[in-house]
Amino acid sequence: MKAPLSWLKEYVDIDCSAEDLKDKLFSCGFEVEEMEYIAKNIDKIVSCKILSIDKHPNADKLSVTKVDAGKYGEKQIITSAKNIAVGDVVPVALDGATLFNGERIFNGELRGVPSEGMFCSGEELGINDDWYKGASVNGILILDKSFPLGEEVKTLLDLEDVMFDINVTANRPDCQSILGIAREVAAVLSKPFKMPDLTYTTDKNISTVKTVKVSDLATDLCPRYVSHLVKDIKIEESPLWMKRRLFRMGIRSINNVVDITNYVLLEIGQPMHAFDLSNIEGNEIIVRRANENEKIVTLDEKEFILSENNLVICDSVKPVALAGVMGGLNSEIKDDTKDVLFESAKFKRDNIRKTSRALGQRSDSSSRFEKGIDAYTTEIGMKRALNLITTLKCGTIACDEYDLCAEKLVEKTIETTLSKVNAVLGIDVPKDEIKNILTKLNFKVEINGDNLTVKVPLYREDMESYPDIAEEIIREYGYSHITPTLLKNSSITNGKKTDSQKAVDNVKTFLTSLGFNEIITYSFVSEKDYDLFGFDKESEEHKFIKIINPIGEDMAVMRTSLLPSIVKTVVYNQNRQNDSGRLFELAKVYHPKSLPLNDFPIENNVLSFSVFGEKEDFFTLKGVIEKLLSNFAYGVDFDYISCDYKFMHPTRSAIIKSGDKIIGYFGQLNPILAEKVGSDKPILCGEIFYDVLSTLFVPKIVFSNISKFPTVERDIAILVDETITCKEITDVIKESAGENLIEVSLFDIYQGNQVEKGKKSMAFNLVYNSQLRTLNVEEIDASISDVLSALKQKVGAELR
């Protein structure tokens, strides 16, 4: 909300500096987001009388003038201006002057003739015709001949002011006006507030009620509708003071009637409308919902097709205004308008908001209505408009009005206690302070022992109960009175993480210890990613939820897989000379239970990971996964089976399973896909379905005694077909070695000149131990021989 200091001063005697006022407003909840000293930098532009105008000796388009600059003496000014004459009083920027836009003017020379300044236009003073007649001309601003000479023009034209731009919170629509801000200023400065004059003179021979009929057929959308007739209007220019106020607020002056409606909107905060009565057919005003496909052309000559969600003001045959948004072109005020029907109404904010959004039509009125108008302001607004008609002597006011008020206005009473109010604050505010503060804010206060009864001013529709009163008190009393206590009256609670919250922390710590950096990527992705990555159209991954109003196509659907995000992150890094790295993300994916969405979707936690760079391959990633699984799901068997996902390398990727459950998948990203997303290097990546895996977590550490007897190690090297997997061999070894084998691990694999084509050599280390006794050589030998024969039989292995 913008409010010029000069205007506020009309209602409050402000005796502090603008800076102080800014600080005080800040402390009571009205942050001044911007404070502009208008025309402050205009300097040394003074009123001068033109004494002579002569042709420039060296330039046809320039003139050499002499001016009387009062106390500055006589000056010579070179100009190209054509709209000046000897005897004119004009603003002249003298040596060292500053214009409105900050530009500096110094003595100079034009085509060989010295110039001691510059004539100024209205624009160079930051004004137009609304501020001073003639300021809009394309030339020099000609001032009143009666002005004293050599005086600062900014003083003569009253240009200086301070403009506050105040952040008004959504609960205080009553402060979306100069009046509302002034009320707060008065309270915070403990000064009386002067209400604007609301009196007006009526003509008992003219009656609104006899001239037009007003009926409200949409009470739910229009809680109050006030209509007042003004006859014999003289459409003319507004007085200077009004034009200047509108100018400061950025509103162009049109004529007195239109200006009055704008002035009331700014000052009182009530959007007003004025109809030309001659265009109201059937002498009837009806407030109703629009008919389906009904049309209206608004003042700005745009046509809208309406629905029953829109509220319209109609005469007996047609809509004449889109309620709360804009008047109709068919009933606008014209230069020959004779009789005007003023409207001041309260329309439901929600409906105006919806209409304005749906039609894409906004106005100062609609944005004001969207914030909320109270029924009291509706009444004040009309009175002020009529007062201005009287003041401007531009019409004859009817002696009565239509006031369709659904509810009678009664001041709300809040009955509470001082102790309840103080309990919210945690301090005891002195009784006198409470009374004083609430009174300043126009509440009617009664304190009886601990009982506090408060009558709320009509414009404060936000006030409901004692916490609201507590807030009113503390924002004026000062938050610096709040003294810190650490929940002194509260029970002790034990703050700790749950097991599953701790597990998440532990998994992340585990991964970071192995060199992984955590990433965070957006939860929404492009629908195109799913086709690019080749997710099966029938798969769960392809059933995603779409945002109705996304920022862009690339953030339009909720992801069902983290893989595209992490792969893109890897490519982003590779393109920025980050040639190697290990990344992970633990985040949610979103699966609808059904489409279209009619219930909460399932939000599953997924762990995505990727390793890239020269040192990384399938097995460096697999090593991490194996460690992760064995650390967190101790003792659980996991199988690695080949993976047929289109986005993965067909022979270098694996699905991780535990029994029937798919835990995740990993491996090399399909190289064709990698190329499509902009990478020519292998990307190892995958996902673990964290919520599935975490059901297998073993929270307790399982301890077993260390055997007192020595372990025996044996190595065997075998030759097998290259298609035989390591897993097949170790399974055979485990099955055939007997109960004393405690570990088997591969330590070498060889394929090349030393072995037959199509075969590979594999070397395993077998570890034997017993909890009960020292194993003897014979039984180890027997076990090894069993293993070798089983290997030969089951996988065709030969001892090397």
Partner: protein, 340 residues
Amino acid sequence: MDIFEQLREKAKEEIKTVSSSKELNDLKVKYVGKSGEITALLRGMKDIPAEERSSFGKKVNDLKDEVSTIFDEKENVLKENELNEKYKREAIDITLPGKCPEVGNLHPLNLVKNQIIDAFMGMGFNIFEGPEIDTDYYCFQALNIPKDHPARDMQDTFYFTDNILLRPHTSPGQVRTMENNKPPIKILSPGRVYRADDDASHSPMFHQIEGLVIDKNVSLCDLKGLLDEFVRIMFDRETKTRFRPSYFPFTEPSVEVDVTCCKCHGKGCNLCKGTGWIEILGAGIVNKNVLEMSGIDSNVYSGLAFGLGIERIAMIKYGISDIRTLFENNVKFLKQFNRR
């Protein structure tokens, strides 16, 4: 010079010339071994008169001990020399770089999230994470933001249907906690939130932490005490808070909380735009309507709530000027947050 002296001097001379443990050992055998020269003297005992035998024997043994000691001393010297030689051969350049696998770290936003959680967990808070995709009821209505409320414009929300949406704040965590728990309640609700905004200071996805305390007689003074302690843990012990009036539909009274600038400590700098204060969070006393809607008796209990943006805290703490940096995940950026 008798035989004893001759032997002693001879042994001494020979020991002097020895330069290796092996030579010394050979020499030791030559003198004090089983058939060594000194030992051999004892074999000549039979030629000694009986009354002198005992003094002769003692002399031989003394000589043996004396020479043995000389051998031991020499041995120690030689061993030390040899060890020194070995150490010299094993010398390395200790300033060569060490070898260790790389260690990664958490994303800065989660580092900050953990710091915040730790600060409040110490004050008795537990953690509750609600769904990110939520209903109009939990995100708005139950927080005292009815359908026609202008405060809905405060957040530009992403919708899936009229009723199902991406939560624009973590405040629904409050509602769910109150619905499912009895006071006393102290809860933090962290998580991802979403709003249709995208520029240097706004990201369409960001992170918040909502805090809620419900108990008897909870007041603004408690809020102040709690947040004072929090900012001292989060920034430094000198950090102070300032409350100023604000408005949120779900709290009444509502405050914006500023902290003294962590860079200039209140003197005024570019980070705090010369004011000495930085806005870090919104808070207040839980609105009575919100308590009642979630089944908490507002005549018995009161509550305080606060909500803070993790990005904002991280950006202030680490001096990050563009929020988008946090979501690009450039490894060079991420690796800078590896101090433990």
